[in-house]
Symmetry: C2
Subunit: 342 residues, 2 copies
DNA sequence: TTGAAAGCGCTAACAC
DNA sequence: GTGTTAGCGCTTTCAA
């Protein structure tokens, strides 16, 4: 329960705490400062005693913790799962630890978590903001106060935070261009909250693709909902029950979970995908390629997002010049059976 | 970059640091100790200044960090993903933060991560040990030294650590009982390292089920391999090429990833599941129910494992009496098409 | 080549 | 009600 301290070692080797500290930090220019004998004795004793430096005490004087805070809505979402994995990997090779916190898509816990992360004096913070703008002032405050902050996956338009996001306008545009090319002109889009950058961008890609094809935008086919499987299921069911499904050549979900719900509802109603109707998602979840009817979707490059986030964060931490404050990485289309009759 | 300190506040309100500390910790019995006016002034100023206590400084005197270290092989594995999610949730409601680290199934980074976690003076550690016994002495040392440690998902037989694991003997037994009941007597089992508790237990369930059915155990049908999709693929392919597949009624993977590889290989060879041969996995990955041929598998209750781990850890931390040092939670069979012709 | 001393931000015991 | 003091474990001048 009680750890060995520098003083314990110092006492054993009859040297001062300062000397022990020097040796154990390798800051003595490797033997220039401390005598070979004492250094070896110190090393030996510290090993025998299982000395483990107290990083908390250290931060008090060095001002650094070598900890990065990561705040995400939900690690069960494939994309965040992957990003966390890759970011953790990067960070640990660079000697950083990862403090992981969840916002559950809710600004209230988000704020609370940010506060405790700051109280731990992390060297930097990565956050994938929860939907909603409530915490923008907080993000501003902390980045103004000089704490390295990088937004990930989502951003706030009009604000100038460091951010790494996927180019969902491009991804979505390509997706819908493909669907249109399959002969589908009337495409229902079950989307999330249009306040969030995620929904906004995917909707924009939808709009662009239709416009380019000369297909009029029909507001009644764009259905606001949530981001979960049940949301897709319920909205699709409504579409079916109201008979509006007859007017649709395709139904798209704002993400793969929603698309999975859509598939369920369609199957339940005896509709065949892709024969009767096309379906698509977004995000390329782990299950998407293995569904009874493999799902056409857009792959967001999680590992690239993690890498870019890492580099950007390090640039900010080290005070290096940053060329682009908001980095966008592009997505790639995954065409599968759900939109591909052939 | 520089944070507000108690002293900054003290100076502004013309009170001592001690008083400010009292107020901000709510340790003054709510006004008993500190005057109403001063308390309010302190609260106000601390808010204005965006005061955020330095938890590192605090730990130096209180000896507590309110941080729990979690060390897992790989968060991309569904089971660890879920456990992390639920554990994080539990911990944050209890006011703890989560320090997440990866071992990548390798004892070397595992040891390194343990060391830095300890140097951060966490209040407790949860680890799902990497395969291999190399770090048992380390685990012993830290738990002997009084640091609350709970092993999760995997344990070391013969050692007396606190642990929460799934009862894979039972899960596996039920799985193979089911397969035998489907008329399959000759079951190939593509397993991992029999040194690990995971493989050992699943193999034991296999053995038990066969024994019960009076089916002789055939060593040549138990194939040692790894834990990944490619391992299942390669071993199944060997089985096919050697013609031994003819002697098998079923092929089982030590987990779902391996089973997925098996399916691939079988399909590639033109074999039909479950008509020609049965297949099963273990772990109920997210994709397993949605495969072209939905996979029979065993569900490990991640959220229950997380809950039990949390409770056990808290018991250890608070020094409460613990009734069972090694908790086992039971698994449930998920019968799907891959073993169910009907 | 080494040590003394100061100080990081905070809490807790005790005195006033 | 409030302040003084000591000390947590460490790093970092500066002096010897």
């Amino acid at each position: 329960m009680s750890y060995v301290t520098l003083e314990d070692i110092a006492r054993q080797v009859h040297k001062s705490v300062a000397t022990v500290s020097q040796v154990l930090n390798g800051k003595d220019g490797n033997g220039i400062r401390v005598g070979k004998e004492t250094r070896e004795k110190i090393l030996k004793v510290s090993r025998e005693l299982n000395y483990r430096p107290n990083y908390n005490a250290r931060q008090l004087v060095t001002k650094g913790t070598k900890v990065i805070g990561l705040l995400i809505p939900d690690i069960m979402q494939m994309f965040f799962n992957e990003v966390t994995y890759h970011l953790s990997r990067r960070l640990s090779t660079a000697g950083y630890d990862l403090l992981l916190a969840h916002s559950y898509e809710d600004p209230v816990p988000e704020k609370r978590e940010i506060e405790t992360i700051l109280s731990r004096r992390v060297d930097g913070i990565v956050v994938a903001p929860a939907c909603g703008k409530e915490n923008i002032p907080l993000f501003k405050e902390i980045s103004d106060s000089g704490v390295p902050l990088v937004l990930m996956d989502r951003y706030f338009s009009g604000e100038s935070f460091y951010s790494v996001t996927t180019d969902d306008v491009q991804g979505s545009y390509e997706l819908f261009k493909h669907i249109v090319s399959r002969g589908a002109g009337r495409i229902a889009f079950i989307s999330g909250n249009p306040d969030t950058s995620v929904t906004m961008e995917r909707l924009e890609g939808y709009r662009l693709a239709l416009e380019e094809a000369g297909i009029p935008y029909r507001g009644d086919l764009v259905i606001k909902s949530g981001y979960f499987q049940k949301d897709g299921y319920e909205r699709a069911k409504t579409l079916i029950q109201s008979g509006k499904i007859q007017e649709c050549d395709a139904v798209s979900g704002v993400n793969d979970s929603v698309a999975l719900g859509i598939l369920e509802a369609l199957w339940e109603a005896g509709l065949k995908v892709p024969e009767d109707i096309l379906v698509s998602g977004y995000g390329d979840e782990r299950f998407s390629g293995y569904l009874g009817c493999p799902l056409t979707t857009v792959r967001q490059p999680a590992s690239e997002v993690a890498d870019r986030t890492y580099s950007l964060l390090m640039d900010v931490i080290k005070g290096r010049d940053v060329l682009t404050k908001d980095i966008k990485v592009s997505c790639s289309l995954r065409i599968r059976e759900s939109t591909d009759g052939s």
